[in-house]
Symmetry: C2
Subunit: 393 residues, 2 copies
């Protein structure tokens, strides 16, 4: 063919992180067939869904087979029963939303990727290290991306201090993937004030909010005026174990405007054109998962993951190893010991303790020298891993 | 905010078609409260899903609640079990695909809308009348759209005859929404040859292929060399009643290249960045729906819809009213009687026969003077409608 392709795809680095990890583990296994390898690199939930959730999904599935209860095309923005439940979920967290602010998605990743459709050619500011989707989705559409450096000094919570006062699009993720670092109320106030003063938009990824236990904001809308500067994109994936079920939601308050253009109306139009809504049985499952009863059930799973981060944090505290996350997050972001680089420590850990984690440099160059451990293995495996790390470090 | 928004959104016409229809029906009802209104405007399936399909979905849902059978993130391109079933589905239709050519989606509309992401700034050629998503998704990304006129002379099956030989992106939908018109083998050969010679890409929407009964191609890949010029986007929505379940598939053969760039690789990258796969229970349901047994079950529903189109076609044949579709499609696209305009006939039909259809002009200006009737009402209602039309026309 002689048509033009999107040349911006050539600017996206191929991400070989996880295939590289798999190769190294495979090679190690082939020379050490009896090694009892523990995987603390998993970025996906592992515990089954609560019974009330799967029962609801099964029930709704069966209903699709009967004339009286069959449902055709869902509304593009989500069924009102689920949008109302999202409003209620936020209300329990003291945030008031309008039903029309809520868009049901097939997961946060889709909306984070697609949100660029409604935006013009803005400068994009993204913390580093970072979830790669923010960067790649912007590079694909030809935007210029600037990194805001995360480091030990700012506890991997970069602030707007050094930024100019021009309008920009800023991605924030709190609790952060991969660093687990979580903005405090006061820090988010500064970001919202900066956005307001500079005329910027914050795209706030709150996919890990359910892991927050220290009172830090779980939604950017807990900050005054945030509805004038922020879109919030969230997910049931980690909160309710929905990674395989696929459901999330995006909040675009009607207060969010550029001149007389409503961002909510733009996104509505985008959804109506390029999306046809989320599967009905999935929305029913999400409805139950977000109900007070469903949230209580999911908390049992979160408690199991939490026990893992506690064991790891306790060890690192004892050993005096610097880390972020763990407290409000399923991720622990540790400094590699003895000045080791990320991949050096990866190999060392695999060889000496048969533990697999994720090299921090895989999330951006500011991650070099750091390492991500996750809480999604079993309590037993994590306990064993902690014992091995205790001897090794 | 002072950020830039995507100004191209201003070029998209608001589509008031269905809200306008609803308003007119509501107004009529308020003055005629006892009218027995029959809706032949429905563009969505109405019959429940086969039992084997919903049972599988319920079973897979329950499995998500048990440790041994729980599934996390699905593969971005779909589970291999379902991709293999798509390959098998095509094989039954004498088309050979590679598993890697197949991408599982949450419905054809999403992929039709998102496919523009991987393309550069090409001229876009779209038949008119048309499914609005082709036009709007291109206008949103600032592309120049040219219409290829459908009319009675070409039986609403525009051909490439008058087109220049420059490379372009061409959207074809066969059987067509809204006209029901279906390209023959020879006609598609001409399109594929044109695309090959001009270096163009065809985006072929085959969402209605299961309605084909006269031997016309159900896939563009039945045409020699089509793998070098065409992407095919399809859906389980109409074929298997999945409008509320949300599953489709997109075929991008590895033969499809621009220079040394593989379109398949571009789309793979797009999916890996902006999509996280389709719900596991949905994919299990789709697997059963596409199996030979599932297809047989769905045919029972298709036969009920087909009976409706037959009743309508028989009447129009008897009355000598020009129409396209009906034979290979759930849609009948009729010429409005007595030179009436689309909305004029809408009001006439509502008032004189209490029948609601869809004014053809709502699908583009080439639809003016035409009218779409659909087969998704019940057999009883359609029979009643045919009796009323018999008296009226």
């Amino acid at each position: 063919m002689k048509i033009k392709i999107n040349e911006n795809f050539k600017n996206i680095k191929e991400n070989y992180l996880f295939s590289d990890i798999n190769k190294r583990v495979k090679a190690y296994k082939s020379t050490h067939p009896d090694a009892d390898i523990i995987r603390l690199g998993i970025g996906d939930v592992t515990l089954p869904l609560p019974k009330i959730v799967v029962d609801e999904m099964a029930k709704a599935s069966i209903e699709m087979g009967a004339k009286e209860t069959f449902k055709g095309y869902p509304p593009e923005y989500g069924y009102d029963f689920l949008r109302e439940m999202v409003v209620d979920y936020y209300k329990r967290n003291k945030v008031t939303l309008d039903l029309e602010d809520v868009f049901i998605s097939d997961g946060a990743k889709s909306d984070i990727g697609n949100i660029v459709d409604i935006l013009g050619d803005n400068d994009i500011y993204i913390p580093n290290p970072v979830y790669p989707v923010y960067v790649d989705s912007n590079l694909m559409s030809g935007r210029k991306v600037y990194y805001i450096e995360g480091n030990e000094k700012n506890k991997f919570l970069p602030m707007p201090d050094g930024l100019d006062c021009k309008p920009k699009v800023i991605y924030l993720c709190s609790p952060n993937n991969p660093t687990g670092a979580t903005y405090s109320y006061d820090e988010l106030v500064k970001w919202v004030e900066y956005a307001y003063e500079s005329g910027s938009l914050i795209i706030f990824d709150s996919a890990y909010e359910a892991f927050i236990t220290d009172g830090s904001p779980r939604s950017i809308y807990q900050i005054p005026m945030a509805k004038h500067v922020a879109i919030e994109i969230s997910s049931l994936s980690k909160m309710a174990g929905f990674t395989g079920i696929r459901c999330g939601f995006t909040i675009i308050p009607k207060e969010l405007t550029v001149g007389d253009t409503s961002i909510n109306a733009l996104w509505k139009r985008r959804c109506a054109t390029k999306f046809n809504g989320v599967s009905y049985p999935v929305q029913r499952a999400a409805y139950v998962a977000l109900s007070p009863e469903g949230v209580e059930e999911s908390k049992k799973n979160l408690a199991i993951y939490k026990k893992n981060t506690e064991m790891l944090c306790e060890l690192f505290d004892k050993k005096g190893i610097w880390y972020s996350g763990g407290k409000n997050s399923p991720y622990i972001w540790m400094r590699c010991p003895n000045g080791m680089k990320s991949f050096e420590f990866f190999d060392y850990l695999l060889d000496k303790a048969n533990i697999v984690g994720t090299p921090g440099v895989g999330f951006g160059e500011c991650g070099e020298g750091y390492f991500r451990l996750t809480s999604f293995a079993s309590n037993e495996d994590t306990k064993k891993a902690v014992e091995r790390l205790n001897k090794l470090l």
